[in-house]
Amino acid sequence: MSRKISAAVLAATAIAIASVQVAGATGLATCDSGSPDGWQPQEKLAAMLKEKGWEIRNIKVDGGCYEVYAIDDKGERAEAYFHPVTLERVETASE
């Protein structure tokens, strides 16, 4: 019985560690954007979106894309992906 429990603890720990390892890219979108050296600066994207009436909350890098958290021009919460070279919007897995 205790051996079974120990095995379960070990398995749970292994799964937990494995899931932490694969975290990182969310897989919601990917951009074939090459080296970050060739990317346009985040500030430019932020300025472009502010121009459109967006309120930028945070910009991160995810899957080679810029991931923007914002309140968009319609006042809606937005999580949007942009290609860091072209600064064009990238469709996400849903929404």
């Binding site: 019985m1 205790s2 379960a8 603890v9 919601l28 909350r57 945070n58 958290y69 919460r77 929404e95």
Partner: protein
Amino acid sequence: MVPVWDLAVRVLHWSLVLTVAAAWLTRHSPGRWHEWIGYATLAIVAARAVWGFLGRGYALFAQFVRAPGETADYARTVLAGREARYIGHNPLGGWMVVALLAMVALVGFTGWLYTTDRYWGVPWVEELHETLSDILFAFVGLHIIGVAFTSRKHRENLVAAMLHGRKREGEPPPR
């Protein structure tokens, strides 16, 4: 065998295991799955908290939440390898229940906060939510270790007890 964990305690315990695991697995999923699972998780915690005050017997916080001094004394007997067997939660296990429920509530609350217009996308809210969930999973790890340790020590399967609700009858404490 005596009945210890009532149906509400058992169903809420394993529902919480499932929803917390599901919330973890859907943390980057598209759509709003993670959010709805989070609300379900908060509802389970709320139900358990209510049952901890209005339930009966071993489900009651008053039955298993011990004073700090008594808990420290118990911890010392564990270190000395001669801790008493408890039918309900032992003092450390009791505090673990409180800690786990509180952590799940905090993780759920910060997750909800992130969905409000005011805190949407705000980096510190996201980081707080993630850090709190890391702490929650550390507590889950300690909980599993505690259950395994105590099961071994007193030669009983506490995981099975949380499934069928029954435990071996109490015996006089050792010495």
